[in-house]
């Protein structure tokens, strides 16, 4: 067969496939009729082979390129992961996959918590011993100095009350999610950036706590922080665990290649961090609406701790892994 004959005999097929690929613009197979779909699956393999034949016949590079492009476009339409409808996928994720993922990645959570606890204690002790140390741990923007001994928890809450609640909650939620996403993304620095985020936040909290304690205001401080803070800090730690998963997968690839390890680490980590979004929404709503409300402090604390306990229970209990030795459960696994 001569190159010319080859072109002549195949051109209708290419035209047809090109028409179908063009119709499925932007990779949406939904635009195609059932017949066209069948045709696509039938035509694509033959055109893929034509790419190789065109190379063999050394036909015009331009045609080769277009043929190649056509085959790539069709390939992209056909080979893809099966996509589930969004809502059932999200439901299944939180009903089963997310708690399992959290339990599987518990060592990272433990590591993040340890870093947090140690730096919190360090900053607390340092500020208790020498009050001026507070300035080391707290960014200059947050002026520690003006909350003198005369400040009560009511005063702190009062400042909060002056800010309208809906924008307050919205601002807190978006800010906290941003912090969490940064803690995750900075994991790409082999975990160093994530550690920094955890360290900075823990030290700030420790220094604040010690600062208030220095003035004998520990109770008002914690009753102000606890309602939303327990869940918020927990969620930040989950995000940090995700960052550590990402960073350590890059730093310590084990038996995988470094890039394969990074990719699988990133897949785990991104799901782990996305699961913190609802936690931050709950914490933000509490912080925006309940923390500044005129409710006795103790009730707020109990509420905050209960909510956090519920979230942690969810993560530890829901979606139990099917037993390896037993019968496969109805829910299925993996």
């Amino acid at each position: 067969m001569t190159p010319a004959r080859f072109l002549e005999s195949r051109r209708t097929t290419w035209d047809r496939l090109e028409a179908i690929v063009t119709k499925a613009t932007q990779g949406k197979l939904g635009n195609l009729t059932e017949d066209e779909l069948r045709e696509l699956t039938r035509l694509y393999p033959t055109v893929a082979v034509d790419v190789a034949r065109a190379r063999m016949y050394k036909i015009d590079p331009l045609i080769q390129q277009r043929l190649n492009q056509l085959a790539i476009a069709a390939h992209g339409l056909l080979y893809r992961r099966k996509s589930k409808p969004l809502l059932p996928a999200v439901w299944g994720f939180f009903r089963r996959d997310y708690p399992r993922l959290f339990r599987r990645l518990w060592p990272y959570m433990a590591l993040a918590t340890a870093i947090f606890a140690v730096s919190l204690m360090g900053a607390y002790v340092a500020t208790r011993l020498a009050p001026a140390n507070a300035y080391v741990f707290v960014p200059h923007g947050l002026d520690v100095g003006d909350s003198g001994p005369e400040v009560t928890s009511e005063d702190v809450s009062e400042r909060f009350r002056q800010i309208p609640k809906p924008p307050m909650a919205a601002g807190i939620i978006s800010n906290n999610i941003s912090v969490a996403l940064h803690a995750f993304a900075l994991g790409i620095t082999a975990g160093v950036g994530t550690c920094y985020v955890v360290l900075a936040n823990a030290m700030m909290l420790g220094a604040f706590a010690a600062h208030f304690a220095n003035h004998g205001l520990s109770y008002p401080f914690w009753s102000f922080i606890a309602p939303h803070g327990v869940l918020e800090i927990f969620a930040i730690l989950v995000a940090a665990a995700a960052g550590l998963r990402l960073g350590l997968s890059l730093a310590i690839p084990g038996s995988l290649t470094r890039s394969a390890s990074l990719r699988s680490g990133a897949r785990d980590a991104v799901l782990l961090v996305l699961g913190t979004v609802p936690m931050f929404i709950i914490a933000g709503l509490i912080e925006g609406f309940i923390t500044p409300a005129y409710i006795p402090g103790i009730i707020k604390i109990i509420l905050g701790i209960t909510v956090a306990a519920l979230v942690i229970t969810y993560l530890l209990v829901v979606g139990a892994e099917p037993k390896v030795s037993g019968q496969p459960t109805a829910g299925g696994s993996t």
Partner: protein, 272 residues
């Protein structure tokens, strides 16, 4: 760093795709940033105009409505910042408006359409890549073979160019897939140029802007010299400009001055 990449299909054919360069990716990013800035501007204008509109309303009602709206705007701004790239890439199968303009697309390294989790990974890591005005991304793309920024490496994605590099585009943009194989020069015989010489000349002509000046100065006299000698029209002035003018004239004659589609199998480099 290379500008193409081979994917092995299940049909055992290596399909070649062209990777998007740092330049086009940067431009696409710039366009997207401009669109995001425009969105923020619109949010700001909405906020301002509602503030002005509400002056006539009952103060309490306006206050509550205004606060809720303000909260919504904060959330929308947040969604734009973190969601613009994710939502567009998910919706347009790996493209954003900017990428669409530059005809580039995100795909999985293995060649499949980009998956949702990969889209989220690469765009969350954008906050690291964009440090120093995307300097981090730039360095990463420069040192990786497949021009990947950190987000791409973690997500296992590459950005490919879908623009067909069309050497003949300047002659006819609308030509069909296989038309270019047709004999391009109906009046070739009358010029006394052999078909293979014509192909060579044409290839040179179409790709001359990709060659550097020294290469052109070296190549062209070798290509066209023997032909001009045969025709007895060797010019006094052997400068590149003069020779290229002669070349253009010859090709016009061969085509009968109208712009039919050129073609060529051999490349200039192979001959050189």
């Amino acid at each position: 760093m290379q500008d193409f990449d081979i994917i092995e299909t299940p049909e055992n054919v290596g399909l070649q795709r062209r990777l998007a360069g740092i330049g086009s990716r940067f431009l696409a990013g710039l366009l997207d940033s401009l669109i995001i800035a425009l969105m923020y501007l619109i949010l700001f204008v909405i906020l301002l105009s509602l503030g002005l509109l509400s002056t006539g309303l009952d103060a309490n009602l306006a206050d509550t409505a205004g606060m809720v709206l303000f909260a919504v705007l904060i959330l929308v701004a947040f969604l734009i910042y973190w969601g613009y790239f994710v939502l567009f890439e998910a919706w347009l199968n790996g493209q954003t408006p900017g990428k669409r303009c530059l005809k580039i697309r995100v795909v999985q390294q293995e060649g499949a359409a980009v998956a949702l989790d990969a889209i989220v990974v690469r765009n969350l890591l954008r906050v690291v890549d964009m440090q120093g005005g995307y300097a981090v991304a730039g360095v990463s793309m420069f040192v990786t073979r497949k021009i990947q920024r950190l987000g791409d490496l973690a997500a296992g994605t590459v950005v490919i160019s879908e623009e067909i590099q069309d050497y003949a585009a300047q002659y006819d943009k609308k030509q069909k897939l296989y038309d270019s194989v047709a004999p391009a020069a109906p009046h070739l015989a009358s010029t006394g140029i052999k078909p293979e010489e014509y192909r060579l000349l044409q290839n040179y002509w179409l790709r001359r802007h990709e060659l550097d000046l020294d290469a052109r100065k070296r190549l062209l006299p070798n290509l066209i010299g023997p032909i001009l000698e045969r025709m007895g029209t060797v010019p006094e002035n052997q400068s590149l400009a003069t020779l290229e003018k002669h070349l253009d004239e010859l090709m016009r004659q061969a085509r009968g001055t109208d712009s039919t589609v050129p073609s060529g199998e051999t490349t200039t480099e192979e001959q050189a």
